[in-house]
Symmetry: C2
């Protein structure tokens, strides 16, 4: 982190200049009254990039957003909670198209009514779509049509937007960072939802990033991918993957200055800012994961390759036995070794060392004597750090997860189709 | 199944002729008094085969048993619960060697004392070793040395053997099958332990099979591998893998007759009998999995390949969200589709159909209307069957798992190192 980078968590997608957001209740949720339809809008066209689910079944909004992103441009994002519009075939796709069209019409209408200097030129394909919620039900497009006009966009609407997209989340996840380049200040903002069915490859996770920096398309895409690789892709809650996962970034250049591209002044800082917002959102999702009481951070160093380090870190963070042990304040490090040993990473028992909450419990293949009571007490923390040194190379990676609790089971056995 | 095959569950490793078993309490468990040291012995030398953990860290008893099996022969198996003797380095290996030596000495002594016609010719390397229990602690070999002479072998000792090797298991898992060939009756018996940390690749699972059939070594090895592929390798409880997993089969030929080899009379029936015992043990482990209240059977048909079918079936059976839904009597079939779609199998949404407890809920990419209340009621069963037809080929596979319950979390957060 450079010193010029300030991270703040009390703002989200509307932290950057020129972005507005809002939400309304369309009655899509079982418990009605809560916002469930959210709109994000940039006053000027954006360069945009996205990453989507790796599932072989892609939900309709994912298929549509991929298509609408083909030109690398977007200006608005419409999101609903309550219904994922997945496994819905051609009808589902038409529903997502209709949702984008409704949002575009509403934005054109609102902007001509306000009487802005020039009429808003916004094509339906400039709107990206995301959906989250239960599967196997048709998207209630009539309710969305009726509710769309009731959305009011606001320069401080990021918080409302972040809350409207929540499903089993208990708190909204938002982050923002600022950086300077060429004497100008730029902002990156973001919010995310997702607290179950989360695993590497963006499972049931929606995340939206914005920036007022002017960014070249290829550099934006690369930056997003790199940031996701070291954050949202290293997040695991339960190993499941949804057909709806979506990560989008829109950069409108509203803060002015020359275009950020590979090697340009400020490019590295932009990359850091995006990475930091992504890490903050990933950690926020792990902390708020279904039933979680603790954040687990798994750092693997000394791996033969970065790929090995990533595999080992993710396997440990995803192990139900490690997660259960952390929940029980039990420094059961044998389970960490078992997870490392099945991760596919090259490992040698005699080269491996393990640290639990900073205490070395296993050093180069040998058990180390430690104070079990003290270590259990240290595990009674809302953040448990596990560090594995594979002793074979310089590959390193960090993964985040959470403990496995009775509450996770309760939530997921009661959250009905 | 041929009609000549009779499966019985009230006998285990001592069901075949010529096998004796016994157990004692060596005080290896936290709760003392329970048996924790078990010995299986064949009166005559056996052809033997084994399959072991895929973990990169192999526990000492696994390393030793692999070595002792190099000649394809064995005559006894000594097993302890309470301590896994994993991550124990060279000392751990010496402890496992000592455990085999103690068992061999005890058997030679016991047989000379009984005054059998010929003195028992049993090398230390004819004894296979398995351990299960907590990791990170040195094997209490002095306790094992003291307890070894107190083991009494018995022709009906299979049940006591099966109970002695249990850890968090609540019931012993045993199975047996008989078949005839050339007018003779042969038996295959088996028992297994394992109720957590179980996943494809034999995680924290110990299983011991015996047979009184005369079997050629290569055919025995192939038969064991095939049976495991369709049973224990298709069992998943929590996705974790232990360094101790061991599956052994000993065939002593005590029932006489010509040697069973590929293509011989009775070979196919032997294969069926071994397969059936393995499936019974796998289902028994799934039913008795930590905290489980239901067995989940996932059948995948219509896959492009058997490998695809296996991957899809195992992923569904292992999905925490599917497992939680089953626990909650919620036919949340969208979670099944999500698991199939991330399994790596070739899938096409429009070709996929899904049956939950026999009811078609999704047919060739389209939701099918069904009675949600009736299906939820049907899910209130101790066995939930999920069938996925990928509609692309003829590959098929069955996987077994169990529901995920608050009790699983309780057990694994309290089971301490």
């Amino acid at each position: 982190m450079t010193e010029s980078l300030v991270t703040t968590t009390d703002t989200g997608v509307t932290a950057p200049l020129g972005f507005l957001a809002g939400a309304t209740s369309a009655g899509l949720r079982t418990r009605s009254g809560l916002d469930d339809l959210a709109l994000l809008f940039s006053e000027s066209p954006c360069v945009a990039a996205g990453l989507f689910t790796s599932s072989a079944f892609q939900a309709a909004p994912v298929v549509l957003s991929r298509r609408n992103l083909a030109d690398g441009k977007a200006q608005a994002v419409i999101v609903n909670a309550g219904c994922a519009n997945a496994y819905a075939g051609a009808e589902g796709y038409r529903d997502s198209e209709e949702m984008a069209r409704l949002a575009a019409s509403q934005l054109r209408l609102a902007y001509s009514a306000v009487g802005s200097a020039s009429k808003l030129r916004l094509a339906d394909s400039d709107v990206l779509v995301a959906s989250t919620g239960v599967t196997g039900h048709r998207l209630p497009i009539d309710k969305i049509r009726a509710a769309m006009p009731t959305i009011t966009l606001d320069r401080d609407g990021g918080d409302r937007f972040a809350r409207a997209i929540m499903t089993t989340d208990t708190v909204p996840k938002q982050a923002a960072a600022t950086f300077t380049a060429g004497g100008r200040e730029y902002r990156v903002g973001g919010c995310a939802k997702g607290s179950g069915m989360i695993h590497p490859n963006l499972a049931t996770m929606l995340a939206f990033l914005t920036s007022d920096a002017p960014v070249e398309r290829a550099f934006l895409e690369k930056t997003l991918r790199r940031a996701a690789d070291a954050s949202l892709q290293m997040l695991t809650v339960d190993g499941d993957t949804s057909p709806n996962d979506t990560l989008l970034i829109l950069a409108n250049g509203a803060a002015g200055g020359p275009t950020l591209r590979e090697g340009a002044e400020g490019a590295a800082r932009f990359r850091e800012a995006v990475a930091q917002v992504c890490v903050d959102l990933a950690k926020g999702m792990a902390r708020d994961a279904e039933g979680a009481t603790k954040l687990i951070e798994v750092k693997v160093v000394g791996a033969k390759s970065v790929a090995d380090a990533r595999a080992a870190a993710r396997t440990v963070a995803g192990s139900p036995l490690v997660k259960s042990a952390v929940y029980g304040n039990d420094p059961n490090w044998g389970r960490v070794l078992a997870a490392v040993a099945r991760s596919g990473a090259v490992v040698e028992e005699e080269a491996t060392s393990l640290f639990w909450q900073g205490v070395c419990v296993f050093q180069r293949g040998r058990t180390v004597a430690y104070d079990e009571k003290a270590l259990s007490a240290a595990t009674k923390s809302d953040e448990v750090r596990i560090r594995v040194d594979l002793g074979l190379g310089s590959g390193r990676a960090v993964a985040w997860g959470c403990d496995l609790t009775e509450e996770y089971v309760r939530i997921n056995s009661e959250y009905t189709t």
